[in-house]
């Protein structure tokens, strides 16, 4: 009951408010048509105002203006207070202040947008992660032993690739094999970065096949070694010694496995180069003719197969 009264109250108030206007107008003996003509307003609007209905009027902005003009015409004092009263009864109206764009021409994505923020963070973290990973794989990070396991396999596979033919023939397979299990990781070779599982499996198989082959032909290998009588030991990690004598002027550049320049200079007639470094050594000799003798780990080495237009480029130990 109480609620009903409260709900009805604004309507009652509005009617009372309008009725007061009607009584003032009638006391001045002005007809509603006359008033409407005076104000240049449709009669319907004045009827709505007097009946206290807002629905028949365009919007609160206009209603306020009409009421103001009407009150002024009727000569009622305190126009502002009366209008405020009317607004208090009816509220500001829904259309007031709800200005929308006709079409959302360009929906602006602000930098503060959480999605945008998240994306940026993910991107930055990804870049950071990739660069750390690259740095670790490239330079071994803080600790060489922390290199991923896949790289060990890769190293092993490269070692075995070389070993398949050469090592068996040269009888060094027995020496090469232990490196598969307990050799420290060679950083120089590890820049072939990503090793997917398939490749890992493949090398695993290769390793087995190689092991079988070695097991099957141990004698021949040993025999080969004995026959060859070579003192060459191709331990992948053992330092390599190179010495060369020159009979003419020649440019020599030797880099070790870490990419460090061991030697990079011009050698003249009668001069020699003696270098020991981490494998693989990358060697550039400007003039093949100028080399008198070339020794690799003490043994004479023929440069002719590596010479191209009198320039020798080779990596030691030689991989097939």
């Amino acid at each position: 009951m109480n609620n009903e009264e409260q709900e009805r109250q604004p309507e009652v108030l509005a009617e009372e408010w309008g009725a007061r206007l009607t009584s003032v107008r009638e006391s001045r003996s002005i007809s509603i048509e006359q008033a409407a003509a005076d104000l240049n307003l449709p009669t319907e609007y004045l009827r709505c105002i007097e009946a206290g209905r807002l629905e028949g009027l365009p919007s609160m902005v206009f209603a306020r203006g009409y009421i103001r003009a009407y009150l002024k015409m009727l000569g009622i004092d305190g126009i502002d207070a009366r209008v405020a009263e009317y607004v208090a009864i009816h509220g500001e109206g829904s259309s007031n202040g709800a200005i929308r764009p006709v079409s959302r021409v360009r929906q602006q994505v602000k930098m503060g947008d959480p999605l945008m923020k998240l994306f940026t963070w993910v991107f930055v973290l990804a870049i950071l992660g990739v660069s750390i990973w690259w740095w670790q794989t490239q330079y071994g990070g803080f600790d060489a032993t922390s290199a991923p396991e896949g790289e060990g396999i890769e190293n092993a596979s490269s070692a075995t690739d070389a070993g398949d033919v050469v090592m068996l023939e040269n009888g060094t397979a027995t020496l090469a094999l232990p490196t598969l299990d307990d050799s420290p990781v060679d950083e120089g070779l590890s820049n072939k970065a990503a090793v997917d599982e398939e490749q890992a499996e493949l090398t695993e198989e290769e390793r087995k096949a190689l092991q079988d082959a070695i097991d099957a032909t141990p004698k021949s290998a040993e025999a080969g070694a004995a026959l060859n009588g070579s003192s060459q030991v191709l331990d992948v990690n053992a330092d390599i010694t190179i010495s060369a004598d020159f009979v003419a002027e020649c440019w020599v550049s030797i880099k070790d496995g870490d990419g460090q320049k061991l030697f990079n200079n011009l050698r003249g007639k009668g001069q020699s180069v003696n270098v020991t470094g981490k494998p693989p050594l990358s060697i550039l000799i400007g003039a093949a003719d100028a080399v008198g003798s070339f020794r690799y780990n003490g043994a004479t080495f023929d440069l002719a197969p590596f010479s191209n237009k009198n320039v020798v480029r080779l990596n030691l130990p030689v991989s097939e």
Binding site: L41, P58, Y66, S95, G97, I99, P101, V102
Partner: protein, 345 residues
């Protein structure tokens, strides 16, 4: 870069850079500044410095010694003195920001007369930039006035707004957030004052200042004859005798004095209605014309336009601040939706 950092400490502003008054609306607050667009410049030797800005400077208008000149840097709605306007804006912008820690660098929306030229717009933009704004948007004055008055500008129905400012009168028909027809008459409150000064000189042989003329207009000025008669005592310098004399003016005399500018405004309104597409004209005829701006406060001006056009005419609530408030609303819309009403040039 520095502007961006300073921007973090600044609030977005909507500025109604009017000929007579400058109003600043701060986003999410309200109108925080309403001061006359007057700057007093003090000259010492070759050096010029700002002596006062706003209300203080206005009090000096016509009362300055040789070393001080009180300037109104805006004329006919556009910038007349670029540097002084810049100084004035700089002063106002820093005044609405409480912090003195950093020079504020707000985003600013400035209202410009709809018929202003590219050069005039550029001048306003540059001077706002010079005053420290980090971004400047421009909006047509009648559009801002319509938004500020609360008209349903986004609806597919015509609304007519007449904004009688200090320097210009802007008339526009608006529908669907766009201006269908707009006209700008370089006639406003200032011109009313001039006509009053001329009238007094001609009929009373006395010279009065602009400030006095403005006071006369505000107190007894009327645009349509009514039964009420108001009178005011004025003191002016008698031209024949050269001595200040006192005389009395009544509202009918002011009505007579203002006939010419008022009829020009009415004529502009009529021609706007003539140019208006019929559908929109019928919307306007049904709901009426809305008056905003300081000129709307002239007594019975709604009655005059209503009588002349035969249409209902209403005066917006708080007509002086409509433009600044409308600009503020547009600024809020700008962030939410990229409002199409606002332009960069």
């Amino acid at each position: 870069m520095l502007k961006k950092i300073r921007g973090l400490f600044s609030s977005d502003l909507s500025i109604d850079l009017g000929t007579a008054n400058t109003l600043i609306y701060v986003r999410d607050k309200d109108i925080v500044l309403d001061e006359p667009s007057v700057v007093a410049i003090r000259q010492t030797g070759n050096q010029k410095s700002v002596a006062a800005v706003g209300a203080d400077a206005k009090r000096m208008l016509g009362r300055t010694p040789g070393s001080i000149t009180a300037i109104r840097p805006m004329k006919d709605g556009v910038i007349a003195d670029f540097h002084v306007t810049e100084k004035m804006l700089q002063y106002f912008i820093s005044k609405v920001h409480d912090t003195n820690f950093l020079t504020p660098s707000p985003r600013v929306l400035v209202c410009v007369p709809c018929k202003s030229t590219q050069v005039e717009r550029r001048a306003i933009k540059e001077s706002a930039m010079g005053a420290g704004a980090r971004e400047v948007y421009l909006i047509d004055e009648p559009m801002a006035a319509a938004i500020g008055a609360g008209l349903p500008v986004d609806e597919a129905s015509g609304s007519m707004v007449v904004d009688i400012g200090g320097g210009t009168t802007e008339i526009a028909v608006i529908s669907l957030n766009g201006i269908v027809y707009a006209d700008s008459v370089r006639l406003g409150g200032d011109r009313f004052d001039e006509y009053i000064v001329t009238y007094v000189r001609r009929n009373y042989g006395s010279l009065i200042g602009d400030s006095t003329a403005e006071r006369i207009k505000q107190e007894i000025g009327t645009a349509y004859p009514s039964s009420e008669m108001h009178e005011i005592d004025v003191r002016g310098r008698n031209l024949a005798e050269g001595i200040p004399r006192s005389f009395t003016l009544n509202s009918n005399e002011i009505l007579e004095a203002l006939q010419e500018p008022l009829s020009a405004i009415v004529q502009a309104v009529k021609s706007a209605l003539e140019q208006c597409p019929p559908e929109l004209a019928s919307d306007i005829a049904e709901r009426g014309i809305v008056l905003t701006g300081g000129g709307a406060l002239l007594r019975n001006i709604d009655r005059l336009i209503s009588e002349e056009t035969g249409l209902p005419v209403i005066v917006a609530e708080d007509p002086l601040t409509c433009v600044a408030r409308g600009g503020g609303r547009a600024l809020e819309m700008l962030d939410k939706h990229g409002f199409e009403l606002v332009s960069h040039d």
